[in-house]
Every structure is written in C-alpha cells, then in structure tokens.
Symmetry: C2
Amino acid sequence: MRKVAVIGVGCTPFGEKWETSFRNLFVDAGARALEDAAISGEQIDELFVGNMSAGRFVDQEHIGALIADYAGLATKHVPSTRVEAACSSGGLAFRQAVTAVASGNADIVVAAGVEKMTDVGTGATVDTLAGAADREWEGFPGATFPGLYAMIARDYMHRFGLTREQLAMVAVKNHRNGARNPNAQFQKEISIDTVMQSSLVADPLRLFDCSPITDGAAAVIVAPLERAREFTDTPIQVLSSAQASDTIALHDRRDISTLDATVAAANRAFQLARLERKDIDMVEVHDCFTIAEICAIEDLGFCSKGEAGRLTEEGYTALDGTLPVNPSGGLKACGHPVGATGIKQVYEIVMQLRGEASGRQVDGEIGMTHNVGGTGATVVCSILGVV
Amino acid sequence: MRKVAVIGVGCTPFGEKWETSFRNLFVDAGARALEDAAISGEQIDELFVGNMSAGRFVDQEHIGALIADYAGLATKHVPSTRVEAACSSGGLAFRQAVTAVASGNADIVVAAGVEKMTDVGTGATVDTLAGAADREWEGFPGATFPGLYAMIARDYMHRFGLTREQLAMVAVKNHRNGARNPNAQFQKEISIDTVMQSSLVADPLRLFDCSPITDGAAAVIVAPLERAREFTDTPIQVLSSAQASDTIALHDRRDISTLDATVAAANRAFQLARLERKDIDMVEVHDCFTIAEICAIEDLGFCSKGEAGRLTEEGYTALDGTLPVNPSGGLKACGHPVGATGIKQVYEIVMQLRGEASGRQVDGEIGMTHNVGGTGATVVCSILGVV
C-alpha cells in the first residue's frame, strides 16, 4: 500500500445559501481545492462524493456522475462514486479516496462532500434526517434525531453527574472558535446564558445544544506521498483512516452513552498510524449535539468516561487548551451540511497543520477527525500529520 | 495489487414482493451467499452495498450500517459502505469490494445490492427514477426515463435502419431466457406480437420494451484468489472491473445513440484483463429498455455500430448463439431492482461459469457484466473467468 498525502483543500462558506444550488456548491468547493493544489481538472483520475440525501433534499440521485459532469470531467470519463452513510458520508468518501490512491488504482483523487438542506421545509428536513436512524424502530414510532441524542444526554448526566452548564460550555467554546472561522455559519460568540435560555428542543437539549441545518460543500485532493511535492510545498500525510459500524438503532446498543463504533474506529486508526492518544495535537469531533462532543472526547480515548465535562469546563479542549477540540467551530458553530461535514473536518485539520488557520490557529503537527453517521451506527476516524 | 476471486453468491427471487421488507430482502440474499461460500458472518471483514434510492422508496438512508446490523455484523463493528450511482449502484459496490481485497485492506468482503421499489405508488416510482437523470435539465421539464430512452431509440432507428420488429426480438429473446431462470420476475415466453401489441409507453417504446419495477437483492463474496480454495472448489476470478462517467444529461452527449461511458469502461476492462472481445463467452448487459441492449452490444465492441439488430434477428445473441447476451433474462425479464441489478449480473456470470445455471446454461470460461446508471452517465464493466 502506498503512502497518501492531501495536496489541496477547498471549502465553501457554510450557511443558509438560498441564492445558490446544490451543483453550484460542489463546483465552488472543487474549484477552490483545484486552485489550492494548483492542478487542472484534466489531472484528476477519480472522484468520491459524500452525500446523505440529495434524493430527498433536491430530488436528485446519481450524484457522482452529476459532480463529475459539472466539474468538467465527464468527457474524460473519470470514474465518480457517491458514498452514503448519513452524516458520516464525507468521512467515508475520504477513506475510499485514500484507498484508491494507496492501492495504486489511481493517483490524483478528489474526495468531496456536499449537502443542500434548505430547499425543503423544516418538517421534510427533520423527516429526512430521521432516515439516518432506524426508520422502522425509531423513525416511525416518532423518534427525531434531537430526541435520540436527548436520551443519550439524560442517561449520561444521570450516570456521570454532567451538569447542564457543562453541556452549555461545549456550545460556548465551539461558538468562540466559529467566531474566528470565516467559513462558519455562526461567527458570533455566545454565553452559557444564551444556551440555557434558548428554547427547549428535546429535554435536556436546547436550541443552542444542536447543530444547525446547513448548505455547504468541501473537497480535498489526495495523491501518492512520493508525488505530493510536485503539487504543494506543504503536503499533509494521511497516517490512517478507519471505519466501524454499530447497530443502527440506539436501543440495541450495549450502552447508549458510549459509541462503540467510535471506540473501534479510533483504536483501528491509532493502530494503523502507530500513534498514541498523546500524539494528537488537535481533533475535529462530530458534535451534532453538545452531548455528542462529550461522548466523543471520551470514546476516542482522550480521557476516561465521565471526565469530558470537567475537562471542557477547565478549558482543556479550548483553542488554547491542551487538546483543542473543534477549532473550526465544529458542527455546532461552523454548521453541518451532513454529507460535507466529514470532508470539512479534513479541510480544517489540513489548514491547521499547514499553519493557515489564521485567527483560530493552534499549534501541532498531528491532527485527527471523527465523523459519525446517525447516533453512531457508522464512524470514521482519520489521522493526518505534517510530513 | 492482489488477485481477487468470487467465493460465494446469493440472489433472492425478483418480483413484486409485497409480503417482505427492504431489510428482509438483503438478509435473504446475504444468507444465501454465506451458505454458498460456506462461511459465517464472523469471517466478513467489510461490506459494500449498492442501493439507488431507499431514501425515497422506503424512507431509509444509512443503508450500509442497516445492512451490517441486520446481517449480525454490528457488534463486530465491520465497516459497511453504501455506494450509489442510480441503476449502476450494484456494479460500483462490486468494484469497491474488489478494490478493498486487491489493495489488501480486507480479505473477505461482501458486495450486495438491494432495492425495494413497490412500497410507493407508480407516480413516486417514476419520479424517483427520474432522479437518475439530470433533475434540473431533464426531470423538471418533464422527461421520464422511458422518454429519454425513446429518444435514443428514435435516433438509432433513423440512422441505422433498425426495425421495430428487431427491437421486439430483444425482448422475445430475454423472456425466453427468463423463462429458464427460477429467480426471474417473468418466467414466460413472449412473441414479437406480444411486444408489438402492448401499450405504447414512449414512442417507439412499448410496455414490453421496458424493464419492470422490481423488488430484489443479490450478494457476492470476494476474497484473495490465493485463499479462494479454502472456501470453494469453484472460485471465479475477477479479471477486471472498470468504471467510467459521462454527462448526466442525454442532450449534452456527443452522440445520444452511443454510450461513450460504455466504450470507455469496456476498453479499460479489456485492457486491465488483457483480453480481447473474442475471448468473451457470455455477457450480461444493461437492457433497461430493448434499445439499451442494442446499443450495449455495439458500444462494448462486440460488433460495429448498426449491426446489433441484425445479429439479434439472426440468433447471434441467443442462449445457443455465438455470444449469449443476458442468459439470466436481463433486466427485461429477470427484473430490475435498480441497486441490485449490477450484483445480480455478477451472480449470473458466476453461476454460468461454474456450470450451475441449469436450464439456461451456456458454454464458456469467461463472462462479462455491463451495468449502466441513468442514460449512461455511469457505467461499470467487469470481466470474470474460470480459474
């Protein structure tokens, strides 16, 4: 297997983009990535696209071909494959792109993620997102996504003594980071009071505990490490990318407050990269809800179960903390265009490792991403490092 | 890259399966494949699932995790990835599974395909399938899939003198083959008159020119060739699997009656396998409409442009002809559960090469599959051979 590096990245601003379309979003992200890698479309050998539900959001399937076409690659007949695993679709697209290069199947491969969520009403959006959970055993009986994560939050608070305020501190930190990210959907700091006084969505989760509905796209370009310096002075090596599954329904889990697929994917990612937890300088985790960041920090192995609330309160995960978590602002403040999120996480870690994250820059040479589908039925973790 | 072999296959009966569910379909196909390979679920390292539009057909996304779960693999945290490229989703899942094994990422990998299409009404089905074409430039202005293929048929008949009767002969042949396939949706022979007197769908295409709406699933298991005999006495080697894209909209093509992505994917598949057209003993082609089989035979390179109608009429593509085309009955008679079709094609070629196709058995040691997404925006071709 060949070593693989990221040679270019691009990301659109995230937000409610009513003025643009699904196809314009990915063309925008792709153009930024090509410009960043200083290559032309002609040089691309293959594409992988992460997208959760364009079929329901914009009535369009066959996303791989659509993207190859609008990227001007159709006449070259470049293979293009959409992969889907709900909110972890982007992370899976990245892993497949890495495999394509590592295997020698292709040299220059684009991994993109895109979602246009605001072209349908709120009811349709909530129902579409419920398709990430078990439709027959969760969705049809009435469970929404905030409802499922609220159950995790209740269970966790009861067992580990996490306070409502500590939960709010996750949102406060991520909004502080998002305020320093020009692509973030919310570039505004908030206080604990903002969270505590926001409307209740699913007890104990309030509006500011939840990631927003977002339009956006991101793209990264990978190539064999040995060729990376043809394209960039700052290649970032992909040290590992690992994926794991779990039961799709929350109630079938061994423990609803531990995402076993996160544990499995992280263990595998560290094993493949031959690294330990202490080697990680920054991490982008999947904070679709504040409680999800708390669980992620623990399930990734950065602290013991029950400690992440206190660490958050002590500033351990802040931009200037020991382990900065979600320097981009995370899903919470940067936004969560579901299929694009996993690619945006890689974008953020690459920008950080290159030292190009300006106002939100943190120190370090090794970063990690953690992308979750549903309530943890699919997880992909990737570790990237400065060459 | 390691050599890869198919060590087990399974396929459900195809048809209108109102008595069963989406998840039961793939569990059924998977169980058949496991039994065929004489392995247990414990031995599986990774899954790839082809599915076009469960989001719209059964309100469920996150298909990879769902399938891993219902296959009993969730607790082992086996990675599971859904890939989508409209009607070529299954073919792409197969290619990704082959890459996973060839690269050394995994040893025992399942490629499955599934679609449950009959749980929604006809209008919703037609609209969902239109999501395989360009929604903004074809679907919204009113083009349906039969309409798009009708344009291809009209153009082809005008330019190459194909007769309406020759087109009907494709359906007659495929129904004759389907009548010998116990999994086929239609196990009944038809005459040219049956086709000619059936209702007009989109001029010149009539009801019996069109593949049906189908529920079904299929699964194949691949492993390194060097380990294949641990599992089976009749391993079938994957000699190549190649994929190509084209413009998603038909009107953007160089020539609407030539599927350039078929030409590109086939050329690549033959190049990778180091074989010539004359080496192929049988082929399963993507006959979503009768005209599609005519184009496929030519675009795959088995004859010159304009000759496939005459060859069909002369019996060249019949079960006892020089090059049997669609021994399974094809999409036309065996049925077309869109995400499953590409895997069913591999299933059929494996059954043929093993000599287990009973009533529809043809001679030969090398077979080929040809799976198309949309009107040709994605094509994947695979070549398989007796070891």
